[in-house]
């Protein structure tokens, strides 16, 4: 298990689960962030405090803290 903090910008990992509140998990899942989905870390911007992810051809941005609730399979990488 690893989180976005351990990923380098530009790399891809396979999502294994999402933690946090139900509404948060549900919205992310409805945007296609389901366990088993490949996610690419596009950028990390310190000024805004956000990360941008790419999943199923679409971009989603999350705050650093909340992005840590996404868990990825440890052996997935590219």
């Amino acid at each position: 298990m690893k989180t976005l903090k351990e990923m380098t910008v530009g790399s891809i990992a396979v999502l294994s689960g999402i933690g946090g509140e139900r509404a948060f998990r549900r919205r992310l899942m409805e945007m296609g962030l389901l366990p088993g989905t490949s996610v690419r870390l596009m950028r990390r911007v310190e000024i805004g405090g956000l990360v941008e992810l790419r999943v199923r051809g679409c971009s989603v941005s999350l705050r650093f803290r909340e992005a840590e609730r996404l868990h990825f399979a440890a052996d997935s990488h590219e």
Binding site: G20, E21, R22, A23, F24, R25, R26, R27, L28, M29, E30, M31, G32, L34, P35, M42, R43, V45, E46, I47, G48, G49, L50, E52, R56, G57, C58, S59, V60, S61, L62, R63, E66
Partner: protein
């Protein structure tokens, strides 16, 4: 004999789609000019409707639903989508739903399409932006897509209008044979446990939700399972249904199941296994157009510098480019005043029309240039996709104050005028974020405060320099700006942790691909927002202006008229030509001052004098403050009247400045000291002296509670801060 045909109501079509799919463009293409803008019942969400003709024989009413990725909802605003599409009371069911889909982002967009099919209503997919497919290395087999989805798919391009005629024809076809737009649910719940959950909820759905369609029953049961939670803000959900859903979720959890995930995964499972059947992926470009632009616009420091530059342009536009248009409005109002005076005999009706009605209408219309300009920029930013990047760049900074990243644009606009800024808060989806921004935007130093500061600084502070270089007057002005901004952020931080404390909702920001903006759509939005303002806030502003006029002109003193007429007569006998004109003008101004000193307004000024004394103000300033409630800059003309130098005085008026310097209390002390001036400016920085702001806040919050709160807290804050400045200054030996 003529046959009387029953006038059938035209069929209803709703238009839905994910955000940023060009839905508005297609709506505008379909409708042309005759749109009606209003609000959905119960929420401040724009409802745009239009009566259209699909062809000569087929009229229809088309209604735009706010963009959404899913029909599931947490808030009343999000719930609107399911109400409008499934036609749950108080909304009417549509005869057809057109779902706009971004062809380049099919995987995610199809999620909404699947939900739509589930509800069992007739639907058409408008496959938008097919012109961009090649650039992305994609190819879509439309016939194959229709086969898989079971409903019509019309490829088109909203920007150029290609394919719109096909869409109209297909809409007619499906309206005439609704079953061709219906398909059975594409996915099926995986296990028996899920099926049981759905059936149990379906049995408990309220009667008015169902329209005798089994498909719909199961779709609304799925919707309830996904949407209802302990902390939702949904409406029309019975406690019974709420309890049942909670029970099902708790049971599932005990069995190690996650109902949300099972349902969502089943829908995406269908999409994943069928997408390759009709989408062919060639070699995608190494870096997409959007990725290349974002490399610059979201660059850690270049992106930030460009952002500041863009915001600088917006601010400059509101602050100075709007000036010629505002002056044009003011000149026009002046002309109308002259015309009215010329047309009507002197008297009450003339005064009422000029001082109340014309002034009132003028004070509404004068906001239009800034509103139009601001919404021009907001429209461009939203259409291109830049607005999401603003939130991306500003989130951390704004969040520290409890504000949403998108609050940056309204806050900045507040430096020009709070009225368009309050309207601009609509770009935030969450009620709490909007309200918090609305509550602090009026604290920003708007351009109406400038004339007051200019007058006070010009009259009471010497044009000297600190250390021989820094001008005192300019520094003071700058200090007022910095002070108001700091206070607005501080108040936001306090309100956001107390009165408007909301659960801190995680930010989930979609970053749409950059798109070329469509000027026609931007212009249409500018017009829609402005007409909403005119209709809904204009009335209140007009009424307030008339009330204030009454307050400052009544009651009439019985002998005043004849006294001043006698003075004029005397002057006419003694003087001629220019000397007479000057004298007559002087008498007019004095009469104005006299009428005013007898008015209810003056009485109120005297009444509140004990309250104002600790701030260093006398009753005349009190009257100015009452007059300034119409708008802050009215303070200057009111003071002109109070001091008998004429209502047409402006902030640069030398006589008004002299009058202010010479004004003394009964015991001979000067009324205005630099300390009083400072106290007065601080008062104006905080006090909510702007009925237009209150009117527009009332309109955006849909209640009187919030404008009353805004007025109360700002005025209280103004009093306390002025008190601190004046009394503190006196203790330190100033003034």
């Amino acid at each position: 004999m003529k046959l009387l045909q029953p006038t059938a109501t035209p069929p209803r079509v709703t238009l839905c789609g994910n955000p940023n799919t060009g839905k508005t463009s297609i709506f505008n293409r379909l409708t042309g000019r005759n749109q009606k803008v209003g609000n959905y019942p119960g929420v401040t969400v724009e409802k745009v409707e239009a009566q259209i003709e699909l062809d000569a024989q087929h009229p229809a009413v088309i209604c735009d639903v706010p963009g959404t990725c899913s029909l599931s909802a947490r808030s009343a605003e999000e719930q609107l989508a399911i109400l409008a599409i499934a036609g749950i009371p108080p909304l009417e069911p549509p005869d057809l739903t057109v779902v706009v889909v971004d062809a380049t982002q099919l995987a995610r967009n199809l999620y909404l399409v699947l939900q739509l099919i589930e509800t069992g209503g007739a639907a058409i997919v408008a496959l938008n932006m097919v012109d961009l497919l090649k650039r992305e290395g994609l190819e879509i087999d439309v016939a194959g897509m229709e086969r898989e989805l079971g409903i019509p798919v019309v490829p088109l391009c909203g920007l150029t209008g290609d394919g719109i005629d096909d869409l109209r024809q297909r809409m007619i076809d499906v309206l005439e044979a609704p079953d061709t737009g219906r398909a059975t649910c594409r996915w099926s719940p995986g296990g028996t446990a899920e099926r049981e959950d759905i059936d149990a909820i379906a049995a408990a759905l309220p009667e008015e939700w169902l329209r005798k369609s089994p498909a719909r029953k199961s779709a609304l049961a799925v919707w309830s399972l996904l949407s209802i939670s302990e902390d939702d803000e949904l409406e029309y959900v019975s406690p019974e249904l709420r309890r049942l859903v909670a029970e099902r979720h708790a049971d599932a959890e005990r069995q190690g199941r996650d109902i949300d995930r099972e349902i969502i995964a089943a829908r995406y499972g269908w999409i994943d296994s069928h997408l390759d059947g009709f989408v062919r992926r060639g070699s995608p470009p190494r870096k997409t157009f959007t990725e290349r632009i974002d490399a610059v616009l979201l660059h850690p420091w270049i992106g930030f510098a460009l952002f500041l530059l863009i915001m600088g342009v917006v601010f400059q536009a509101l602050f100075s480019w709007s000036v010629p248009a505002i002056e044009l409005v003011e000149t026009a109002v002046g002309k109308i005043v002259l015309g009215t005076r010329w047309l009507l005999p002197d008297g009450m009706l003339e005064e009422f029309l000029v001082g109340g009605v014309v002034a009132g209408v003028g004070s509404v219309v004068v906001f239009l240039p800034q509103i139009l300009l601001l919404f021009f920029f907001i429209g461009l930013m939203e259409d291109t996709g830049y607005m999401q990047r603003v939130a991306f760049l500003m989130d951390r900074l704004m969040r520290a104050m409890g504000l949403h990243g998108r609050a940056f644009v309204p806050m900045l606009s507040g430096f020009a005028c709070a009225v368009p800024a309050v309207l601009a808060t609509r770009t935030m989806e969450r009620r709490r974020d909007r309200f918090l921004t609305i509550m602090v935007v009026p604290l920003m130093t708007c351009s109406a405060r400038l004339p007051v500061y200019t007058l006070v600084i010009g009259a009471l502070f010497p044009p000297s320099r600190v250390f021989g270089i820094l001008p005192v007057q300019g520094l003071l002005m700058l200090a007022m700006y910095a002070f108001s901004t700091a206070m607005a952020l501080l108040v936001a931080a306090v309100l956001g942790r107390t009165l408007l404390r909301g659960p801190s909702v995680p930010l989930i920001l979609e970053m749409p691909p950059y798109r070329r903006p469509h000027l026609r759509d931007v212009l249409r939005m500018m017009w829609q927002r402005s007409s909403l303002f005119l209709r809904e806030a204009g009335g209140i502003i007009l009424v307030c202006t008339i009330l204030l006029w009454g307050l400052l002109s009544f009651p009439k003193h019985p002998t005043l008229d004849t006294d001043y007429e006698a003075l004029r007569g005397g002057a006419r006998q003694e003087l001629t030509a220019e000397a007479l004109d000057t004298r007559l003008e002087r008498i007019d101004a004095e009469e104005e001052g006299a009428i005013f000193r007898h008015s209810y307004g003056a009485r109120m000024g005297r009444l509140i004098e004990p309250l104002l004394e600790p701030l260093g103000f006398d009753w005349k300033i009190g009257v100015g403050i009452i007059g300034a409630f119409a708008a802050r800059e009215v303070f200057i003309s009111t003071m002109g009247v109070v001091y008998g130098v004429g209502a047409d005085s402006d902030e640069a008026s030398v006589t008004l400045r002299e009058q202010i310097r010479d004004e003394t209390h009964e015991d001979g002390r000067p009324v205005y000291t630099p300390l009083v001036g400072l106290s007065l400016m601080v008062f104006f920085a905080f006090a909510c002296q702007c009925m237009s702001t209150l009117a527009v806040v009332r309109r955006e919050t849909r209640s009187w509670k919030w404008p009353v709160f805004l007025f109360t807290y700002m005025t209280a804050l103004a009093w306390v801060m002025s008190f601190a400045v004046y009394q503190g200054g006196k203790l330190l030996g100033f003034g």
